[in-house]
Amino acid sequence: MFTPELLLNAVVAGLMLGSFYAAVALGLSITFGQLDIVNIAHPTFVILGSFVAYIINENFGLDPVLIGVLFMPIFYFIGTTLYRVYYASFERTGQESLSGLAFFFGLMFIIEVVLILTFGVDYRLVEADYIGQTLHLGPLDFPYRMLVPAIAACIVTGAVVLYMNKTFMGKAILAVSQDRLALQLMGANPLQVKRIALGIAIATAALAGALLIIIQPVEPSVGRMYIGRIFAIVVLGGMGSISGTFLAAILIGVVESIISTFYGPSWAPAVGFGILLLTLAIRPQGIFGRA
């Protein structure tokens, strides 16, 4: 049963959902797209971020978004350390393709198991005054549990885009996988560049996790539902173009939202892959990729 109002609200909900997807995909866009590191554990770091938000929120009543922001430096440090380990164990010896993948798989399981052993498999939530309330603007509904994460996601994405395009380190991150040796000739240290990049990527997961647990209850294995979707977004976005990733996330969010409004939510998960397969057939560099 189609009404223009329903469609409009589906689009608005999709825009908010898509912005959130962008926050989750952002870190993967950096690792997978810029560093050629297949960090399959990225969604698990997002879940780790959700649990951090849960614990602090539960014990101290802090706002989940604020917790996400506060924990970004700690996650940044985890990311830089992770790169040191990854480099020393795999990249230095050129074993990154297969062993590296196994490493991130292992990391994913370890984090997940630790979370399960600590918290069990129950769904956890956070509390904040705005969760459960809705902003009404004419015919449009903006539930705060979607709106707040969407705004935070747009801000963090914008900040990363600015960083990548306006700072020397940001440009070095964009360049490092294209020609590492040439980057050294510019006076940059590729290992430092990659370390900082992975730090930033994992830092975004802290915030994305906090946003996720505002949107929905979280249990340790929820991250897996996002793996396919966010890889699809990163590839659609043109592998490492941050603004491309954002647009691809919005596209998937909106299409998913429309499909689930008019055809039922069970179709929604197929949307990402549907669009991905179509795109790969027609435009292998992704919809929003640079040539």
């Binding site: 020397f168 440009k171 070095a172 040439a182 000739l185 006076g187 040539a291």
Partner: protein, 243 residues
Amino acid sequence: MASSITVTNVEAGYGSVRVLHGVTMSVNSGETVVLLGSNGNGKSTLIKCITGLATPGEGDIVLDVDGEKTSLIGKTPEEIVDLGIAMVPEGRRLFPSLTVEENLHLGAYRMAAREKLAENLDFVYETFPRLMERRNQLAGSMSGGEQQMVAVARAMMSDPTILLVDEPSVGLAPILVSRMIATIKELKEKKNLTVLMAEQNFNQAIKIADRGYIIVHGEIEFEGKTADDLANNDMIKQYYLGT
């Protein structure tokens, strides 16, 4: 600023393969020195040793800036760039999916160059107006001649005192080679550079050389104290002029 490089008895190679056998040469302040030799004789390896991309097993490479001597052995390429040595690598090695301007910005990565970014950007756009027109184009989508311009411009963005250029003529049409060689001379004069250029193309290289060396199988076979000295050498005649 007076900058020179002295290479003494350098032995270097890849793994167990020795490529350079006791190379001794120098580039004095304000000179354009050419390193001549056909393919596979060790020109690039020598330049890589100077920039820290290859590590000599023996010998020394010393940078002299206004009398202050620094050994480059054991320094990372980043540290060497920071000392004011820029390299235009063989095959250009641009960042293909970044724009021309992004490539140029990255050239100014080292701290001393960042402050002068705007000034140096104006300078390279003045030198290569073509790059100004193409500044938002992806570097990988440009023609070979344009890419070589980006590579040279990018090196100039690091505000160097010493410029190392590895075979700028490769893959370019003869007219473009002439222009590129003339531009290197122009850059050298405007910025008071010290230049070391590796080339196979003797006839082009000799046009801007103050003096030079001929390298064969990783050894300096001949040192020409002047450009004429090089041009009249029997070996050159044999290699390049077919007499």
